[in-house]
Symmetry: C2
């Protein structure tokens, strides 16, 4: 078996979060080319999970479907959101195919369902079959069915830890729009420092720092992510800036990149 | 439980079979409006299976993937075909959503796999869940994984009989580009006569007529279909012209339409 890498690509990397259904075509093209180049240089299996960015957040807000599906309008909103997230996958996959990457989208709704906003069932059989045949399965943050509240949101950040464990990934990569995890929000605080390595030694101080910052997502959108990550951080996890040219290709190839690496025992 | 209808919409209805990836937008809009209107007038559950038309046939031919996936180029062709068929679903669903139909696409690859070009597994759980919540699941003719030859083609005509049985459908509708099953090809033979009703009484003479015509698909593309249909024709099956305004709406509402009705015991 080849090494399996699970790579999340943040919605902030491939969409313009402030515009409705606006894909960042330049970013998508760069990321796709880097994935294609890495695959030409090294053999590895890859699952990509992309965030929905503005393609998800905006219809979810518009149709008010964060807390369940109870009206006909919300039901239509659920379908609109699913379609909107599919549109973003479609953009990404068009470019991946053009670069020679045999990408196959598997909408999470078809294999994952929720029980009150938490994973109830996540059947990864088709992903394993696709990997075995040499394809690159694509998942995404999207709406899924929920047996308590009708429908809810499954984020890429929810899916990645589950996939890493179930599919026995060797590495996990989070491509985001900052250089990694910081001591404060690097977008607003000049004195924010990148934390290059998180291990059992410094994890507690980092967690209490995150706890203090509860009211604000001061770590550049990484607070929710890191607490999810800690549940499975026995394999190397890299949080890298996917907006910077070369980072995705280099991290896929196992090269050194400015980032946060998490490795716990 | 509401009555469940399985409706196939032929690729010839919603695409231009002679042009690469060319959707027939006028037909799609008309069909979508008729489905939306019928749903406003009557409560019923609906699963739609659309053919791929030029969105499927052309990439399948271009990449030569009819008989399996054995090369890297075929693998990329498989992914291209999947993407191309998804593009057609995307067109159709955009219009259905705009008409207020909560359509959710479930690509067959995610729930169906083949063993040497025949259905090996077809897990309809997610379709039942979607129906229960009031959505309209959309499937399509498309590529699926095959555990013998890597990948093969699952036609809508293959899926419909299986779905009808498994989901306990009450009626099946085939929307095609002719008025039903004819004694000869209505597109080329002036003396072709529509067969309005197929029952146990006339089925044998029709089958032998079809047998004689083996070398040519003289019944307007219906020969393969009818032999598939006979395996499950214990519920009413309607073959109607979906190119003619009003037919889809009327047949969904249970009204009389010029068509072929099949009812066997």
């Amino acid at each position: 078996m080849k090494e399996l890498i699970i790579m999340k690509i943040g919605g902030s990397v491939i969409t313009d979060k402030n515009k409705y259904m606006s894909a960042d075509k330049e970013s998508i093209l760069r990321v796709a080319k880097e994935i294609a180049n890495a695959r030409k240089k090294k053999k590895f299996d890859l699952v990509i999970v992309h965030g929905a960015g503005s393609f998800g957040h905006m219809p979810v807000k518009k149709y008010n479907i964060t807390n369940g599906i109870f009206s006909e309008m919300q039901k239509l909103g659920f379908a609109h959101t699913y379609h909107s997230c599919a549109t973003l996958s479609h953009h990404l996959i068009s470019v991946l195919l053009a670069e020679g990457v045999p990408a196959i989208v598997v909408p999470p709704l078809t294999i994952l369902s929720h029980h009150n906003k938490k994973i109830k069932k996540f059947d990864t059989t088709v992903l394993s079959m696709l990997l075995k045949e040499g394809y690159v399965p694509i998942l995404r943050g999207d709406v899924v069915l929920d047996d308590v509240i009708g429908g809810s949101i499954s984020s890429g950040d929810e899916q990645v830890p589950y996939l890493a464990k179930k599919l026995n990934a060797k590495r996990v990569i989070y491509g985001v729009d900052v250089d990694g995890i910081f001591t404060a929000d690097p977008k607003t605080k000049k004195d924010a420092k990148l934390i290059p390595f998180i291990s059992n030694k410094n994890i507690n101080s980092i967690l209490s720092c995150l706890e203090e910052a509860k009211t604000q997502d001061v770590t550049g959108g990484m607070r929710g992510k890191i607490t999810e990550l800690l549940h499975y951080a026995t394999i190397p996890i890299y949080i890298v800036n996917a907006k910077k040219r070369g980072n995705i290709q280099n991290i896929l190839l196992g090269k050194k990149v400015k980032c946060t690496e998490i490795r716990l025992k």
